[in-house]
């Protein structure tokens, strides 16, 4: 029997009436990359949080290097050499990268410039060893998400962790950064560290791990050797049923033009040009995908179309009428619905229940209120109906929506946005952070909207999603559309090149 560096036996954790982790057994070895695979809400993060001391297990025992370990706080975990890179980074935004890395250090009360210089050198050298470049002297708020993650990883290494847990590390990274991360993980593995990575992305698991443990609904389902399994088996284990991933077949669109945007110029928050002469059009019954690396103007485009941001020059015609000024109310009344990038920030009010959240865009109508007074009973039954129709799983209608899983929050948001029969939906990263089942549900909803004659502008970084759903894919780069391809002729590689700013030989007129 092999000696595991981490062994968890019969771990149980309850949050109120919910059992997040139910008799979970888990083990990992030194010198391996172990992936913990499961849908969102399967309990992966909960189990790992117990290993790193953030949560305390209600039952069960944890062994580190064969010794029973009592992990009651993150400090205990750190003493045992367990370090965790959280999905929501644990970094102090106002401090520099180096300050964050040495934060837990109790020694050396005085920190003069010499001490800081030595530490900078030490941290840079450590980063170098594992292929991680860290800008030591810049405050975190100035760093990109990828850089922040590197700071987090260097931090765990600096603290001498030999068991390193990464919680959904790839969810915030670009494809290039993901490859770089895996390279780092391999170096760690060679250095004899235990690397545990939670994720719900099967492709990445297959590409990076040695062994895979699959969790579903708080239970450990199986542990497999990566070499002896495949995506289909993993998907079946993860979801508990067969999942078919296919490209949606469809008939060509013949609808009338719904949205036309001509030479749009928009300035972003700090006076930077965000959109430069952007033109596009969406027809009724058409899904237009916008592909591009984050930060090329997608956010601003969505904001302009939904009335959140004013534009400098250019022309927007929606449903035959020119749009003159940016107005959220105007956009809602015109029939533009919005699935925002961050559903908990600008989509839903976390502490309110489902009824209030569903009412946000329609409470003014005579169906829902009269003389400014809400029709409580009617709204309740209306919400109940929507919750059932969109299959939102919530304990009660009044349960604060922040307690729902990401997938159910997104379904609720879609319920609200679809319920008032939009002519156009602007969906920004609609499946970000959702598991396989919930993603399929969102895709179905978008196809239904298309079927009912609405236009959809789908802004996404997930190329597979765009290829699957879009009738046309436009590539945005540096604030304008630099390429277009249709559903039939869409080519991954070509789109990928254009996303990097390399234009297609023949300039495509848009």
């Amino acid at each position: 029997m092999q000696n595991h560096s981490v062994e968890m036996r019969g771990i149980v954790k309850r949050f109120g009436s919910v059992t997040a982790s139910d008799q979970v057994d888990f083990s990992a070895n030194a010198g391996e990359i172990h992936a913990l695979l499961g849908e969102n809400g399967a309990g992966k993060s909960t189990v790992m949080s117990m290993l790193s001391g953030v949560y305390r297990a209600d039952e069960g025992e944890i062994l580190i290097h064969g010794q029973t370990a009592k992990i009651r706080s993150p400090k205990d975990a750190a003493m045992l050499g367990v370090g965790m890179v959280f999905q929501n980074f644990r970094l102090v935004q106002t401090l520099t990268a180096a300050e964050n890395i040495v934060l837990g250090e109790k020694s050396s009360f005085w920190r003069g410039s010499k001490w800081i210089k030595n530490k900078h050198a030490e941290i840079e050298a450590l980063g170098e060893r594992f292929g991680l470049h860290v800008p030591v002297d810049r405050p975190i708020w100035q760093l990109s998400v990828g850089e922040q993650q590197r700071v987090e990883i260097v931090k765990t290494l600096y603290r001498g962790a030999d068991i390193i847990i990464l919680d959904e590390p790839t969810s915030v990274l670009t494809p290039g950064e993901v490859e770089q991360l895996f390279e780092t993980l391999r170096v760690m593995k060679k250095a004899g560290k235990t690397v545990i990575m939670t994720t719900h992305k099967m492709k990445e698991v297959m590409a990076s791990s040695d062994r895979i443990s699959v969790m579903r609904k708080g239970k450990m389902i199986a542990t497999l050797d990566t070499a002896k399994t495949g995506e289909l088996e993993l998907a079946r284990l993860m979801v508990g049923r067969e999942v078919i991933i296919t490209r949606q077949e469809r008939e060509a669109v013949q609808g009338k033009p719904l949205l036309t945007v001509n030479h749009l110029e928009v300035t972003a928050d700090h006076g930077r040009k965000a959109l430069e002469g952007l033109s596009l059009s969406v027809r009724a019954g058409e899904i237009v995908g916008i592909a591009g690396v984050a930060g090329n103007g997608q956010k601003e485009l969505a904001e302009v179309l939904t009335g959140l941001r004013a534009w400098k020059s250019g022309e927007i015609v929606f449903d035959g009428k020119p749009v003159k000024t940016a107005s959220v109310r105007g956009a809602i009344d015109a029939g533009i619905s919005h699935v925002p990038e961050n559903r908990m920030k600008s989509g839903l009010a976390g502490r309110l229940g489902s009824v209030d959240n569903l009412l946000f865009k329609s409470y003014r109508s005579s169906e829902h209120s009269r003389f400014g007074i809400l029709k409580a009973a009617k709204n309740r039954s209306w919400s109940q109906e929507l919750v059932q129709r969109f299959n939102v799983k919530t304990p009660e209608l009044d349960t604060p929506v922040q307690q729902l899983s990401g997938g159910n929050q997104q379904k609720l948001l879609f319920a609200r946005e679809v319920s008032h029969r939009p002519k156009l939906m602007v969906a920004v990263h609609p499946t970000q952070g959702l598991d396989v089942g919930a993603t399929a549900g969102v895709h179905e909803l978008l196809m239904e909207l298309r079927g009912s004659g609405s236009g959809v502008l789908l802004i996404s970084e997930d190329l597979d999603e765009l290829l699957q759903l879009s009738d046309r894919i436009l590539v945005i780069y540096g604030g304008s559309i630099i390429g277009e391809t249709d559903h039939e002729h869409a080519d991954r590689e070509e789109i990928g090149l254009m996303m990097a700013g390399i234009r297609h030989r023949e300039e495509n007129a848009v």
């Binding site: 949050f15 790193s52 953030v54 949560y55 305390r56 706080s73 993150p74 400090k75 750190a78 965790m84 959280f86 929501n88 644990r90 970094l91 102090v92 935004q93 106002t94 401090l95 300050e99 964050n100 040495v102 934060l103 837990g104 250090e105 109790k106 020694s107 050396s108 009360f109 005085w110 920190r111 003069g112 708020w141 928050d269 700090h270």
Partner: protein
């Protein structure tokens, strides 16, 4: 001595209580706990100093008693806000109302009685010979020197020591600090308590160096000004020094213009510091519109380890 020098001396004298209270507030808020109880704490500090000094005749005993009483109030504030996670605004306001009421009640017996002495002045002979500087720094009292040293000490503490790093981390992101093995609750308790004691000392300075006897409500809103100065100084001790003296100067400027026999009604002159506050806030808000405000990010938010995000 010319008008400017006199004004500077007056500015330091009026600014010192503000400075001490602001530094106390900075310690509080850097740890992530809002301190709106400054007015009450200053009053409690002032009344404790008066009572103990008059009854015992010992300045040292009076100062120790002041620190003890206000530190105790600080512990109560931290128990409410850190352990019980009560609303920090409410707890602070309660502290102010409680302090005003209790100090008025306790102070009745000694109201109007003169103190046996003031804060002793440090005569620095060799400094005195320097023109202007000598006039200003030649005979400052002990508490003023203490406040100046404190500015330097706190600046170094916050920016050049491991403790300072821990303090900033706790105020900005307690969850991160916790994961890094820093004892969030303990740090919050310590700084809230120390901060409250400093604010109490500001009250002591009011009666030892500024107003010679106890009067009900003698701080006249200076606690509130200190609350504003904390924000003004953007939680930075060095800036607190300038802000406090600036306000001290404005405060005494109005008084002096009045002495010159100006026709401006005194009520308008008394408004000067507050009008300037609004103007400066507008200017700073405009200038720093694209920068982080410097506010400790979890100011006002209690920390619970197992809270789900």
């Amino acid at each position: 001595m010319d008008f400017t020098t006199q004004l500077l001396i007056a500015a330091i004298s009026a600014g010192t209580p503000l400075l001490l209270a602001t530094l106390g507030g900075i310690l509080n808020e850097r740890a992530g706990i809002i301190q709106l109880g400054a007015e009450g704490l200053m009053l409690m500090g002032a009344v404790t100093t008066c009572i103990v000094y008059i009854r015992s005749g010992s300045l040292l005993l009076a100062l120790l008693a002041t620190l003890a009483v206000t530190a105790l109030l600080g512990i109560i504030h931290s128990f409410l806000t850190v352990t019980l996670r009560a609303n920090q605004t409410m707890s602070g306001l309660a502290m102010t109302l409680f302090g005003s009421g209790l100090s008025a009640y306790l102070g009745k017996s000694i109201s109007g009685l003169p103190l046996p002495g003031t804060s002793p002045k440090l005569d620095l002979g060799w400094v005195k010979s320097i023109p202007v500087i000598g006039d200003i720094f030649g005979r400052l009292d002990v508490l003023t020197w203490f406040s100046l040293l404190l500015v330097a000490a706190l600046h170094l503490l916050i920016h050049h020591t491991s403790w300072g790093l821990h303090l900033k981390a706790v105020g900005d992101n307690p969850a991160t600090a916790d994961v890094m093995g820093i004892r969030v609750q303990m740090i919050r308790y310590s700084y809230v308590t120390a901060g409250a004691a400093l604010i109490g000392l500001a009250g002591a300075d009011m009666v030892l160096a500024y107003a010679p006897t106890w009067n009900e409500g003698l701080t006249a809103g200076r606690g509130w000004i200190a609350v504003g100065l904390v924000i003004f100084a953007r939680w930075n001790p060095l800036r607190a020094l300038f802000c406090a003296y600036f306000f001290g100067a404005l405060d005494s400027l109005g008084f002096r213009i009045q002495l010159l026999g100006s026709a401006i009604p005194p009520y308008f002159l008394k408004m000067i510091p507050y009008i300037v506050t609004i103007l400066v806030l507008m200017y700073l808000g405009y200038r720093n519109r694209n920068k982080p405000s410097g506010t400790p990010e979890s100011l006002g938010t209690p920390y619970i380890r197992e809270q789900r995000f």
